[in-house]
């Protein structure tokens, strides 16, 4: 599969803090890719390095075939970028903003623009300054989608938005989906909003990428296990590393298997724990998988401190 974004060993230091540490990732063309991680994990710095808004301390990246440090206006006319703290010309009205953006993009689609104005219910004559947070982000998205960018980069677009605006935002974004060449990179600290939308995820933890995988592969290899120990049975002291978040209360044992194989997964548990009875394996949603990973990384972080 062709990659629209390739990052190799990207690092960025701010003073003593290593915000991003040797991060490599590929975003295949045509995918909707979510960069997930808690606040402060390095998502924004990564995105800014990819779009030449921050220089990497080391490593390199290419975006749409161009070295990220050479990205300029020509590339930006093919990229739609919306961030949490988007700066917009406060004094302009929404109409003026759109009139201002239009001539900068050869691919501007006025019909799509009108349709999104209607769909987002944007007041054209109001100034940006007077818009609510939800309206501002919709105006920012509109001005970044109307030229049908090949790559849409959204940095925490949903934070602080109410459910209705989030929903409108996603619907507007999907307006572009009848185009064949269309890739989205979206960062979020919460999987909730993007769960059904994404097909690939990268999970970032303290500046490093820990998971880079398709959603279907993740859903295939994660299972939530529950079992009961036979009355005189015991749990072995050595358990596989792939078993996360092990918990036991009395004879009940629970854990998350991160290396489940269809067909042999339950047998494998029985061979590790011969005293296991009533072994059940349940599939996990992307949200549950993400939570299990986040909890695992957090406890690892505590051990290191």
């Amino acid at each position: 599969m062709k990659s629209i974004i390739q990052a190799r060993e990207l690092s960025r230091r701010f003073g003593r803090t290593l915000a991003v540490n040797g991060l490599s990732l590929d975003v295949p063309k045509g995918s909707i890719f979510a960069l997930l991680g808690p606040n402060g994990a390095g998502k924004t710095t990564t995105i800014k390095m990819l779009l030449n808004m921050v220089r990497p301390t080391s490593g390199r990246a290419t975006v749409m075939g161009t070295d990220s440090t050479r990205i300029g206006p020509a590339e930006f006319s093919r990229i739609g970028y919306v961030s949490e703290n988007q700066e917009l010309p406060e004094w302009m009205s929404v109409r003026e903003l759109l009139d201002f953006c239009r001539p900068m993009y050869p691919t501007w689609d006025q019909d799509l623009c009108r349709q999104l104005v209607h769909q987002f219910d944007l007041p054209l004559s109001k100034t940006i300054k007077s818009l609510s947070r939800g309206m501002r982000i919709k105006a920012a998205l509109l001005s970044s989608l109307a030229y049908r960018p090949e790559l849409v980069v959204l940095d925490e677009p949903f934070s602080g938005l109410d459910a209705l605006v989030r929903d409108e935002f996603m619907r507007g974004l999907l307006e572009l989906s009848d185009r064949t060449e269309w890739t989205v990179l979206v960062s979020s600290h919460d999987i909730d909003e993007v769960e059904r939308l994404v097909d690939r995820v990268g999970v970032i933890d303290r500046g490093s990428l820990r998971v880079l995988e398709s959603v279907s592969s993740l859903e295939g290899r994660f299972r939530h296990f529950q079992l009961t120990l036979a009355p005189d049975g015991e749990l072995p002291t050595e358990l596989p590393d792939s078993w996360l978040l092990k918990e036991s209360v009395g004879r009940s044992v629970r854990f998350v298997e991160s290396d489940y194989r269809e067909g042999t997964g339950v047998q494998r548990v029985r061979s590790v724990v011969p005293a296991a009875e009533n072994v059940t394996a349940s599939p996990m949603s992307l949200k549950e998988i993400f939570m299990a990973l986040a909890r695992t990384y957090r406890s690892e972080g505590r051990e290191q401190e």
């Binding site: 995918s31 909707i32 999907l174 859903e219 599939p283 949603s285």
Partner: protein
């Protein structure tokens, strides 16, 4: 708005759920042969799902013969294709067995299970029974 009912639940694959929802809509006549089926974009927008997933669903349904993709016109609901002997024996051997096992596990009586099956059969085919299947319904009534 989509012309059929679909409620996506968290935790199971959107793809499977959507394929099933369309099957259900077609057997229950919520979608009839010749009806226009929503575009990939409409499906993905209405359900807020990945367009690639919507594309996979349409491809699968077209492969199964439930949808006919007509270039330039769009996607239409096709006539229910005749089941292959394998599909029919699969349903009768595997899925019916699972249903019986589950019913016995829950200590349902045979009559209760038969009634539940009949109720669901009626509910799905109320508007108009799928053509060529009336015969079977009456045989089933007879058997009880």
């Amino acid at each position: 708005m989509l012309p059929f009912t679909v409620e996506l639940k968290i935790g199971t694959s959107v793809y499977e759920q959507l394929v099933y929802a369309v099957h259900r809509a077609i057997v229950s006549n919520q979608l009839s042969p010749g009806d226009r089926f929503p575009s990939i974009r409409t499906l993905s927008q209405e359900l807020r799902i990945n367009p690639n997933t919507a594309q996979k669903v349409v491809t699968r349904l077209a492969d199964q013969g439930l949808l006919a993709v007509q270039p330039g016109i769009g996607t239409l609901v096709a006539k229910l294709p005749d089941p292959s002997p394998r599909e029919r024996s699969d349903l009768l051997a595997r899925q019916v067995e699972q249903l019986v096992v589950e019913a016995r596990r829950l200590s349902l009586t045979r009559a209760e299970l038969v009634r539940a099956v009949k109720d669901h059969w009626t509910r799905l085919s109320e508007s108009s029974p799928p053509k060529g299947r009336e015969q079977e319904t009456s045989t089933e009534d007879h058997a009880e």
